[in-house]
Point group: C2
């Protein structure tokens, strides 16, 4: 389902087809954890900001409103009224980062909900059942996440467990999608590579899960404490062992500069809460760097956030107005900022694809890599 269209160094221009449409890669997925984009954006708005793939979360939707409810409402596409591709994260990372009293066993993880403390058990089969109920186009494997730094022996054990769980995930999802009442019979499973920053563990694990010949592979367990350069080095070491004809998804990354550097290292899919979260704090991306719209200097600035931006906010509203909305705590401030930042990220990906198409990706990186992350 992945088609490599062109390469420049290790950077890949491709497309990935799903039952809900074809995705042009490299792509940034727009995060709607709880089946909604933070900042008051609707499914219609996702279209307006140029979103190709929406990403929701297994753990959050299992807790609220419950995946069986979403199944009964026709699945996530019908529930949130987004008819483009959806990827669901498996819940593994959220159990690791949000849940309390976590006990990891071979069968899965026992933990307490971060919302109401109720006891929940989730293993590979449960994660697949939930994702089958949600009916996303792309389900992610349930993995054993580790933070960084971590002991090598603990990372090795987690990798082995993740590999064993992956086989169970594959079997379970196969069973669920084959059912007559499957929400999305075309749903597929992507594996997740783990191994922290131990290159040999990463490679060993990748070789193991590659043999399952899944339609896509994610790189998990990065951007969780290591330095940016450790992250880049790990991807560089791993890349030659990832199948060429499958998309690669770097989970939870990152800044515009991170994305540029990781596209150079062969990554196709990205997601991150950063553009929405930064937006809600008034930190807005421009092609010259990141501005803080709350600054006094924008009080009487009649220009748009970015004169080069074609987003619905920049086409109509001024920095002055947006700053005012932040200062008097109007929700519209959040909506405008998230809208702009997501549009910016989606535009960045489009420019990356155009540069790859034109064989000018290295020039593009040189022009922007140092600029986009800096505060101006």
């Amino acid at each position: 389902m992945y088609k490599l269209l062109k390469k420049e160094g290790n950077a890949r221009r491709g497309e990935y087809s799903t039952p809900h449409g074809t995705v042009q890669t490299p792509v940034f997925m727009n995060v709607g954890t709880q089946a909604a984009i933070k900042g008051g954006l609707s499914a219609e708005d996702l279209g307006r900001v140029g979103c190709q793939v929406e990403l929701s979360n297994t753990y959050h939707l299992h807790v609220r409103p419950g995946d069986t409810l979403i199944r009964d409402m026709g699945g996530l596409h019908a529930f949130m009224r987004w008819d483009g591709p959806i990827l669901t994260d498996s819940g593994g990372f959220q159990i690791f980062s949000l849940a309390s009293l976590r006990k990891i066993k071979e069968e899965g993880v026992y933990f307490n909900s971060h919302v109401d403390g109720r006891h929940i058990f989730m293993g590979p089969e449960e994660s697949m059942r939930i994702q089958a109920n949600l009916g996303s186009g792309i389900a992610l494997a349930f993995d054993a996440c580790v933070g960084i730094p971590a002991e090598r022996s603990y990372v090795k054990d987690s990798c082995d467990r993740t590999a064993r769980w992956l086989e169970r995930c594959r079997a379970a999802l196969h069973e669920y999608t084959a059912r007559e009442d499957a929400v999305n019979p075309g749903q597929v499973l992507w594996g997740i590579n783990q191994g922290a920053v131990f290159h040999d563990l990463r490679i060993e694990h990748m070789k193991k899960i590659r043999d399952l010949d899944l339609p896509g592979y994610a790189i998990g367990g990065l951007a969780v404490g290591e330095s940016t350069w450790e992250m880049y080095d790990t991807i560089e070491a791993l890349e030659p062992y990832m199948p060429v004809d499958r998309p690669r998804y770097l989970m939870g990354v990152g800044t515009p500069c991170n994305i540029l550097e990781c596209v150079r290292r062969g990554v196709d899919f990205f997601d991150c809460v950063m553009p929405a979260r930064n937006g809600r704090h008034g930190h807005l991306y421009t092609w010259e760097g990141v501005i803080n719209i709350k600054n006094e200097k924008y009080a009487r600035d009649e220009g748009p956030i970015d004169p080069l931006c074609q987003c619905p906010v920049c086409r109509r509203y001024s920095r002055s107005y947006l700053r005012h909305l932040f200062k008097c705590e109007e929700i519209l401030a959040l909506r405008f900022s998230v809208m702009h930042n997501l549009f910016f990220y989606n535009s960045l990906m489009e420019k990356i694809r155009n540069a790859l198409d034109a064989g000018e990706y290295e020039e593009f990186c040189r022009a922007y890599a140092e600029k986009l992350d800096r505060r101006i």
Copy 2:
């Protein structure tokens, strides 16, 4: 500028022309106190919910971001990018309801800002200067507000003061709009009638301010503590003394039923924070009554908020999804609810106008007056 098109009993179908467009009356004005609609609605969204007149507030905008800033940005229309009619309240009511350490003198009111406590003085001239800076199409007179119940003598004094202030308002606004650099040279002043629920004071005051022959008259100081029937009775007593060829604006009112009853009593303009505020609490208007979308019974309800509603939310999203958004505290819940409720209010006014056009207003009232306010 007001044209009475048709009457049914005391109910009036009319239109009112402003430099930014003609308003079909009876009309509900959509409240954007701080130059933004609570709940994350933009000026574009105002168009989508069928808003005819936007209402902003002198006091709030003077405090933040400052009316001179808005003037320098080209006025309120340019600042918030709404090109339809705007009415600005004078600040009199907000000083009365929000500000602390209030001292009312003949020259005006000394008080402390509710935001940062800073000392502010506002009298008729200041209110007019601020509204001239904002450049609204309709400016409201700066009045001395009183709560209910209040001593008759205190109400009488306030009425007299409001009448004296009105003359100062007229002179001041005349001066400001005549200036070469006026933001909106076509800006007009509406007077405000006061008198609490003392019918004779209301009438006496109305006679006095009527003589100034202003292009519109508001009824202030109601819905501030009296019973609904006292409010209706007061309007009924006052109505014969309001000029027929001028629009009447009942400030801060009210529920759908209040609006139906007050249209019957000759009111043309309304405004209220209620639809937006109720929306943010999950109380949504339907043609059968008010629902609380947070109720468990809507958890799996695939229908829209109201099957008869054509708003952008009802056309696309389910009660089930909206309830989920509230339960997990997504901002999108607020946006959707406010959008629906404002659309509902604007539709209600449209139906009222249609009923008046068809000479069927009494039937319309009988069909809806008891239904729309009840909780179902």
